[in-house]
């Protein structure tokens, strides 16, 4: 019970932090396409960056459920700020924790937790999105280490990252490496003009004859790839599922608040039944999405193998709900919803990305359909 109370207090504090320090600046982050260092430092001070990781590494040891609540609290205020937690905790942190050597964990995780070093997960490439197995970035053994060549794209926080988990191939073998920004041959190019996640320092990462020492390999060369990618994407999907709930809830809050104030035809628009229908659907969908996330979180907490597919279901549904509710929130706002003066305009853009990152909805549908086809067949 003591640990539940501790975690509840952390999440309550995160909600206060989001309300007071993040939400008021979310529009500014989006407009300037930058998550400022002071916000990152504040999150590091509060140990949010590796919130799901053990306290021994500087994390908060939040269990999956409370990690979900924390993700919702921060992402609700600003998707790029929440996205930093997704990248640090779920993608880089969890992959290192599960698959990294003791030396790699001891070196990098405390630096990440303190915000001294920012990590990024470099899987996608200009020609490789959903088909992760087809990566074209190459590695070759050389001396006691490896040489990497290739180009990564759409790397969240890549423009500011101090190191990258880079996935590369050598013939049929695929391996994950830690590549430090200061290694010769590493260049990054910020990507601007994006639909959403504009403050997430998204970048292209170019690797030209980059020498990587053997001790920077994560997992077994060749044999560990499935686990590094699988761990990162599984945790990433869980975080994005909660991000979907966050966007939907924020859009719902904005929709309801606006509908209760806005007057047309001498009535508040919330008195019109057609607007009430929109609100009813938004409430129902948001509650349903949260229920799926909670179920996935409880299964993850128990270490149940079915948590993987339940996380996929939660991610698919919650991101879809975020898109629908954010679109309806714009609709309720009318013309005002099309202006950046109102947060729903940003939420509308942010929601769409959730259906793409950490596995498109179509990839999730395939996985869910396979599960359904074997689970629900009468024999």
């Amino acid at each position: 019970m003591g640990d539940v109370l501790r975690q509840e207090e952390i999440v309550n504090e995160a909600r206060r932090f989001a309300d007071e320090e993040v939400r008021p600046r979310a529009g500014e982050f989006d407009e300037h396409e930058e998550l400022p260092r002071d916000i990152i430092s504040r999150m590091a001070e509060k140990r949010y960056l590796l919130a799901s990781l053990p306290e021994a590494y500087g994390g908060l040891s939040l269990d999956p459920l409370y990690y979900g609540y924390l993700t919702e609290a921060i992402t609700k205020a600003c998707c790029s700020t929440g996205g930093l937690i997704t990248v640090e905790s779920s993608l880089v942190g969890e992959a290192l924790l599960r698959c990294g050597s003791r030396d790699l964990k001891d070196k990098w995780l405390p630096l990440m937790a303190s915000g001294e070093k920012i990590g990024a997960f470099a899987l996608s490439e200009p020609e490789v999105g959903s088909d992760a197995g087809a990566i074209r970035t190459r590695y070759q053994p050389e001396g006691s280490g490896f040489v990497l060549n290739g180009r990564k794209k759409w790397i969240s926080f890549g423009a500011m990252a101090d190191f990258f988990i880079v996935l590369a191939s050598c013939g049929d073998q695929k391996t994950a490496f830690i590549v430090e920004r200061e290694f010769n041959g590493v260049r990054t190019q910020p990507m601007k003009g994006l639909l959403a996640r504009r403050a997430s320092h998204v970048a292209e990462v170019e690797l030209e004859n980059v020498h990587v020492p053997a001790e920077n390999v994560i997992g077994r060369p060749g044999g560990g790839f499935s686990y590094v990618v699988g761990t990162a994407l599984d945790h990433g999907r869980y975080s994005i599922a909660w991000s979907g709930v966050a966007v939907a809830q924020e859009a719902l809050d904005a929709m309801v608040s606006y509908a209760r104030k806005r007057r047309q035809f001498d009535k508040r628009i919330c008195e019109f039944q057609l607007v009430q229908g929109i609100i009813a659907d938004a409430v129902t969908k948001t509650h349903a999405a949260r229920a799926l996330c909670i179920r996935a979180g409880e299964l993850r907490k128990r270490g149940d193998a079915s948590a993987v597919v339940e996380t996929t279901i939660a991610k698919y549904f919650a991101s879809k709900v975020a898109v629908e509710v954010a679109a309806d929130a714009v609709q309720v706002h009318g013309g005002n919803g099309c202006s950046s003066s109102y947060p729903v305009e940003r939420l509308f853009r942010e929601a769409k990305v959730l259906e793409i990152i950490e596995g498109t909805s179509q990839i999730q549908q395939q996985l869910i359909a396979r599960y359904g086809l074997r689970q629900y067949c009468r024999r």
Binding site: G219, G222, G224, F225, Y227, G230, V308, V309, R374
Partner: protein
């Protein structure tokens, strides 16, 4: 139920193919045959840890340890000192 039976049953329940005639032997590579999808690698680790109460360490996370029923059985027995 013996470890081999438990592992075989878990794999059978999670096949990514729905051909009624799809069968796999204890030495068949279920990943190479396309009998399971990519998230299954993580699911199998969760299952092994939960079912057999063992911790799969970072050094153990080599796909070659988990490609066939017999390899998984060998891995579990090794971990449990059987």
């Amino acid at each position: 139920m013996q470890p081999a039976e438990k592992i075989r049953e878990f794999i059978s329940k999670n096949l990514a193919v729905y051909d009624e005639g799809a069968v796999f032997g204890d030495d068949d590579n279920i990943f190479a045959l396309g009998f399971v999808d990519s998230p299954f690698a993580i699911q199998l680790i969760c299952f092994i840890e939960e079912e057999f109460q063992i911790k799969v360490a970072d050094d153990d996370l080599d796909i070659e340890n988990f490609t066939t029923v017999n390899r998984v059985v060998e891995f579990v027995r090794g971990k449990k000192g059987l």
